[in-house]
């Protein structure tokens, strides 16, 4: 069972995506301030020096989940074997319970774009990505969780909805899902669909981790997943909606721009934690009623 992956009791509640802007503050404190952190391994792989040493220190204090950026699961070209080898070493060293990356392509024609580019929701992509996910799991020796991205355009003619695309990949590969509720909200706003309806169409029993973040509006009129603002109420509501259906899961607050001081972020974590506790209580009530 995918959900059985969340076996470590420390992987519950609200953690933070680790960023260098507040790393010193985290290390200086008596406690890390959150039960766990999520890191992007690309920022630490093949690296020595301060940040590597800091991550080693942090690893002694709390669990770390890895969340990659450049596996490029949706690309035509298979992932770079050198990168995969380094990723295997890194995820093993960090004892990550799973490794997540995005349903997108980040590399094409030998170029690595360092951005999450959109995929066509097609049967062909489902088959290729499901194979890629299984191959990555075999190579890494670790379960994979795939994350729904924001997309500002769908490339080409859709053969299915986003929810159908994600579901088909998860079911065909047997992988877990990392559900980013901010991405669901942003896509719903940009493309005019109901976020809750989409969540209900997803195989929520496969979700092992949740992301929340804030967003901003672009000059073109799109809502952009910048991770550059506090989590808005509408996204918080989607988090509640999700947790009431999934039960307790590790939730990660992501912040990449206009990052406030750690104390400010921890206030936001506390607010999320409160919503988390209430939602999990509701999930327990629902479960008791249906039993």
């Amino acid at each position: 069972m995918v959900r059985g992956l969340v076996a470590d009791p420390r992987l519950a509640g609200v953690g933070l995506g680790l960023r260098w802007e507040f790393l010193d503050e985290v290390l200086a404190g008596p406690e890390p301030g959150v039960p766990f952190f999520e890191v992007s391994p690309e920022n630490y792989m093949r690296r020595g020096g301060y940040y590597r040493a800091a991550l080693e220190t942090l690893l002694e204090r709390c669990p770390i989940i890895t969340h990659g950026l450049t596996l490029s699961l949706g690309a035509e070209e298979p992932p770079d074997s050198g990168y995969l080898e380094m990723l295997r070493v890194e995820t093993q060293w960090l004892h990550s319970p799973w490794h997540s990356d995005h349903l997108c392509f980040t590399a094409a024609g030998g170029r690595v774009l360092h951005e999450l580019l959109p995929l066509k929701f097609s049967r062909e992509n489902v088959l290729r990505i499901a194979d890629r996910v299984r191959a990555a799991e075999d190579f890494l020796g670790l379960p994979m969780a795939v994350e729904n991205i924001t997309f500002y355009a769908h490339p080409g003619r859709r053969e299915m909805t986003e929810a159908e695309f994600i579901t088909a990949i998860a079911e065909r590969s047997g992988c877990a899902l990392l559900l980013d509720v901010n991405n669901v909200y942003v896509n719903a706003q940009n493309h005019g669909f109901d976020a809750r309806e989409m969540l209900e169409q997803l195989p929520l029993e496969r979700v092992v981790q949740v992301h929340v973040a804030g967003h901003t509006r672009s000059p073109e009129g799109f809502i952009i997943d910048t991770h550059g603002a506090a989590v808005p109420d509408a996204v918080l509501e989607l988090l509640r909606f999700t947790l009431e259906r999934t039960g307790p899961l590790p939730v990660v607050l992501e912040r990449d721009h206009d990052i406030p001081a750690l104390a400010e972020l921890l206030k936001e974590v506390a607010k999320l934690e409160s919503a988390y506790t209430e939602s999990v209580a509701r999930w327990q009530e629902r479960r008791a009623q249906s039993a």
């Binding site: 690309e42 920022n43 792989m45 093949r46 690296r47 020595g48 020096g49 301060y50 940040y51 590597r52 040493a53 450049t70 690309a75 035509e76 070209e77 770079d80 990168y83 392509f105 094409a108 024609g109 030998g110 170029r111 690595v112 774009l113 360092h114 951005e115 580019l117 959109p118 066509k120 997309f151 500002y152 355009a153 769908h154 490339p155 080409g156 003619r157 859709r158 940009n190 672009s218 073109e220 799109f222 952009i224």
Partner: protein, 269 residues
């Protein structure tokens, strides 16, 4: 392996800006990448505004990365930087999974082009290399196991910390003010530096004499003895291996040992 949609998006993001409102340009772009008729129709109906968001996102992330790494070089170059940034993306593009290595790829791409471009000052590539070196040294991966080290002996190789490297520039770019707004040109003077990362992870740059650089380059490889390194370096520089040279060498090595760069002589286990 050709994926028409990937290929088309790649050009849209990294290539020259397309006149997206010109239907002929749009058709030519889709046709160039052999995008199917049904996908082309969907893209035309949808418009390109959404896909163009990715052009802005990709380019701003890469540009911010370079601004962090080689801010002074970019300021020295002025608008010429934008031209080469665009050319880099269009003609080569980043190949690395590690954002911190993109700047090095950019400089590798630019080096031969800047040599032939009279608008670019000769020192620019060296200033870029020097700025990038600071990032590289700060992040250099090193093995914890550097081997055992003992008292110095002339007939043994030496052991140094792994995060140490000798670099040579034809300009004293390391003397330029740190202030990013300063556009003073560096002195045209052959310069050798020992760049190293200390135990507190700070990067330092020590200016070396030509002879000291020649000796250290050999010693850092770790394969020849102190005596061989001194003899070869003196020969290369046309200097007699005198008492004064040996005294100077002892002084340099002592300083490096105090700085924690030189660990001692390499002893077999």
């Amino acid at each position: 392996m050709h994926n028409p949609l990937e290929s088309a998006i790649l050009e849209l993001v990294l290539g020259a800006e397309l006149e997206v409102h010109n239907p002929r340009t749009l058709d030519a772009w889709l046709s160039r990448h052999r995008v199917s008729e049904e996908d082309s129709r969907a893209i035309r109906e949808q418009g390109l505004e959404g896909l163009l968001v990715y052009r802005r996102l990709v380019r701003s992330r890469l540009r911010e990365t370079m601004e962090l790494a080689i801010e002074r070089t970019i300021n020295h170059l002025g608008p010429v930087f934008d031209e080469y940034f665009d050319r880099f993306l269009a003609e080569r593009g980043p190949r690395t999974h590690y954002l911190r290595d993109v700047t090095g790829e950019f400089l590798d791409f630019c080096e031969p082009l800047w040599k032939a471009d009279e608008r670019v000052a000769d020192y620019s590539i060296w200033l870029g290399r020097h700025e990038e070196l600071q990032v590289e040294m700060a992040a250099m991966e090193v093995s914890a196991d550097v081997g055992e080290a003992g008292p110095l002996e002339l007939d043994l190789p030496l052991r140094f910390i792994a995060a140490a490297r000798v670099v040579r520039y034809p300009y004293a770019v390391h003397e330029l003010p740190i202030s990013p707004g300063d556009r003073e040109a560096p002195a045209a003077r052959p310069t050798a530096l020992l760049a190293y990362r200390d135990s507190k992870h700070h990067v330092h740059n020590l200016e070396l004499t030509t002879l000291a650089a020649s000796i250290l380059e050999r010693l850092l490889h770790g394969r020849i003895t102190l005596r061989q390194a001194a003899v070869e370096a003196c020969g290369e520089n046309g200097i007699a291996l005198s008492e004064a040279v040996l005294t100077g060498l002892a002084s340099v090595l002592s300083d490096l040992a105090q700085r924690g760069v030189l660990l001692g002589a390499a002893h077999s286990r």
